[in-house]
């Protein structure tokens, strides 16, 4: 005589089978959640806010890299293309020529090029830039503020503890999403469309 089948009773085979399925589902769910979380929050990188930066010079000396991963970035939309550029020339320079003694940059990292009367274009030679911020200070004091310091992410090693951030007196460093890695000051009309250097 056969024993009546008890459908509510779980045998070992069924228990193991259900357990394995549940484990696989939990695993897949967990991985999916992690991927989703990463997609939503994203990775972060170090960046400095030019609006807070006081050009103290510590970016040049406190980075673990030599030369520093902080570089001067030129926001061309803000530049006046002036002959007398406060970011290029030392104050009180008498002759506006490219002679070394006239230049504010200690490493000749800013290149000046005549475009047409009366405009000159200024470009940054990044490998030469040490991130001292002298040009940024000059540009901010006497010009439109188009020269700004930024962490360059093709150079930065993204330390957990940024050495410059620890020593920044203006608290200008913060972590920003990798999707928007630059914090540039821009003229009012440009603010609507974020700009990359």
């Amino acid at each position: 005589m056969e024993e009546p089948e008890n459908s509510s009773k779980i045998n070992r085979r069924k228990f193991l089978s259900t357990g394995v399925r549940a484990s696989v589902l939990i695993g897949i769910g967990g991985v999916a959640a992690l991927v989703a979380k990463k997609a939503i929050t994203g990775q972060t990188v170090w960046q400095l806010d030019p609006a807070k930066c006081i050009q103290c010079g510590r970016c040049a000396t406190n980075c673990v890299l030599t030369p520093s991963a902080v570089k001067c970035v030129h926001v061309y939309a803000m530049c006046g293309y002036c002959d007398l550029c406060g970011g290029y020339f030392k104050p009180e320079t008498k002759t506006l020529t490219t002679a070394a003694e006239n230049q504010l940059c200690p490493t000749n990292a800013i290149k000046r090029k005549f475009i047409e009367d009366p405009f000159f274009e200024y470009t940054i030679d990044e490998p030469l830039c040490i991130g001292c911020g002298k040009c940024v200070k000059g540009c901010g004091s006497f010009g439109n503020g188009s020269l700004q310091l930024q962490v360059r992410h093709n150079i930065c090693v993204n330390c957990n503890q940024c050495s410059i951030a620890r020593n920044c007196p203006a608290d200008a460093f913060s972590r920003v999403p990798l999707s928007q890695p630059y914090l540039l000051k821009q003229i009012a009309e440009e603010k609507k469309s974020p700009q990359s250097p």
């Binding site: 490219t98 070394a100 047409e116 901010g140």
Partner: protein
């Protein structure tokens, strides 16, 4: 014998290595990859700044309608009739903008720039730049309504360079005198705009157009036009009736034109013109038989860029200042037996005392008031007060919560009207010990509101980079 061989080999290797190292040290050039920075690496072409085609000054004219004068309202030139930026008219003005905000009577679109108006008997004169027609245009409006009566101009091609226009005309009963961005001087009949004469300073005097175009406002001394061209002449006087040169001051030191304007001064009964050029500051005789003669000069304070005009103080003292880190100087002119001497009493950087980058400070009741530049340390962008005999000791500042920009400020009815870069106007009661904000409001939502303000008859004229407004500020 074999035992000594390794030692010999070692010694030989050592000597050879030393020779190789010495050779490397001798021939190695550690700076071979360096680039020498010398003049001319910017590819600036010789003659790139040379004058273009001749400008036919005064060739364009449009007449809309005639209007009688309305006597009683005058702000005749840059810094007003007394060259001090103080309106002395007995008109009571508002202290608050009121619930409904400023009463804007009219508004005009202008070419981009900082040129500001002069007013004579109910008419406003402004040297605008017509960006579409590519021409300087002296425009005449009715002060009460803003209606344009006529405009006189000439074609001159300009490129945007921190604005286009930037001077204030000089006007009297007969003439209106202007200097355009590229140094074209024009004199017209004030009433109907008839062209009288023109002068191209670049062609006539070899003037070097200053950075960002001409900022010098012309001076009308009765029927005489006083212009500081630099180049071949430091100062020239021209008869406005005929356009003929009356006298000319030679310029052997080749001082250049600055953005500063010529300021009249009288010392011991002797009238003189004070000019702060690129190269130095000088006083030039304006009266007697030696008109045009340099009475005194100094190059002890000679910044490379100068925008503010000399501020004439009491007892022969003059305050001069400039931006771009130059700082300021307090000068003392003395006269003895018809001879004049100039002495620098103070000279300092902007962090050490009163300075200004763009606007000329105001001398009021023995004190000097101004706005500190961005490079003035902790007082940057603050409204400040200094005693006229010690410009390094600040008496009062507006505080960290009241910072201003490069905009103008003016005194009227005992109050300061201070304009911020973005079109916000502050009314303040200021004494040597206290800065009290009475009210402030945004007049126009613009930028670079740097053109000087004019106040007359209860009307205030101000501008941002692209528009001019007339506001009723009479206290009702």
């Amino acid at each position: 014998m074999f035992k000594r061989l390794p030692t010999r080999y070692l010694l030989l290797i050592f000597i050879l290595s030393a020779i190789v190292l010495l050779g490397w040290w001798f021939f190695y050039d550690p700076v071979k990859n360096f680039t020498v920075s010398i003049p001319g690496m910017d590819n600036r072409k010789k003659g790139a700044m040379a004058p273009g085609k001749p400008v036919i000054i005064g060739s364009e004219f449009k007449f809309y309608r005639a209007s009688p004068d309305f006597p009683g309202t005058r702000w005749t030139n840059f810094r007003g009739p007394d060259f001090d930026n103080i309106s002395k008219e007995p008109v009571r003005l508002i202290e608050k903008w009121g619930k409904s905000g400023p009463v804007i009577l009219w508004k005009k679109s202008l070419g981009e720039g900082h040129a500001a108006p002069a007013v004579y008997d109910g008419k406003v004169y402004l040297l605008d730049y017509d960006e579409t027609g590519k021409s300087d245009q002296l425009r005449c409006f009715l002060l009460s309504t803003g209606e344009e009566l006529w405009r006189r101009g000439y074609k001159v091609h300009l490129k945007r360079n921190h604005g286009l226009s930037r001077t204030v005309p000089s006007v009297n009963a007969k003439f209106v005198l202007t200097i355009g961005p590229k140094c074209q001087v024009m004199c017209v009949n004030r009433v109907n705009g008839d062209f009288l004469w023109g002068l191209d300073l670049v062609r006539e005097y070899g003037t070097e157009i200053p950075f960002w175009y001409t900022g010098q406002c012309p001076l009308l001394d009765n029927d005489t036009a006083i212009i500081a061209p630099g180049g071949k002449a430091l100062l020239v006087a021209i008869d406005c009736n005929t356009g003929k040169k009356l006298w000319e001051t030679p310029n052997p030191k080749t001082w250049k034109m600055s953005h500063s304007s010529v300021m009249p001064m009288t010392l011991d009964g002797k009238k003189m013109y004070v000019y702060f050029a690129i190269g130095g500051i000088c006083g030039i005789s304006a009266s007697g038989g030696d008109k045009g003669k340099v009475l005194w000069e100094t190059s002890e304070f000679a910044p490379s860029v100068i925008a503010p005009s000399p501020v004439i103080l009491n007892d022969g003292k003059i305050f001069v200042t400039a931006g771009y880190g130059a700082g300021s100087a307090l000068l003392q002119v003395t006269a003895k037996d018809g001879k004049y001497n100039i002495k620098v009493l103070q000279k300092y950087k902007p962090q050490e005392g009163l300075a200004s980058e763009q606007q000329s400070p105001v001398f009021l009741n023995s004190y000097i008031y101004g706005i500190q530049p961005k490079d003035a340390g902790s007082l940057r962008n603050q409204f400040v007060c200094y005693k006229a005999d010690d410009c390094k000791k600040d008496l009062m500042s507006s505080g960290k919560t009241n910072r201003f920009g490069l905009g103008p400020y003016i005194v009227a009815d005992g109050k300061f009207f201070i304009l911020n870069d973005d079109g916000e106007m502050t009314i303040a009661r200021v004494t040597p010990s206290r800065f009290t904000v009475l009210d402030k409001t945004r007049i126009i939502d613009g930028q670079d509101s740097w053109g000087p303000i004019a106040i007359t008859g209860g009307f205030l004229l101000m501008r941002d980079s692209k528009q001019m407004v007339c506001i009723d500020i009479k206290a009702h």
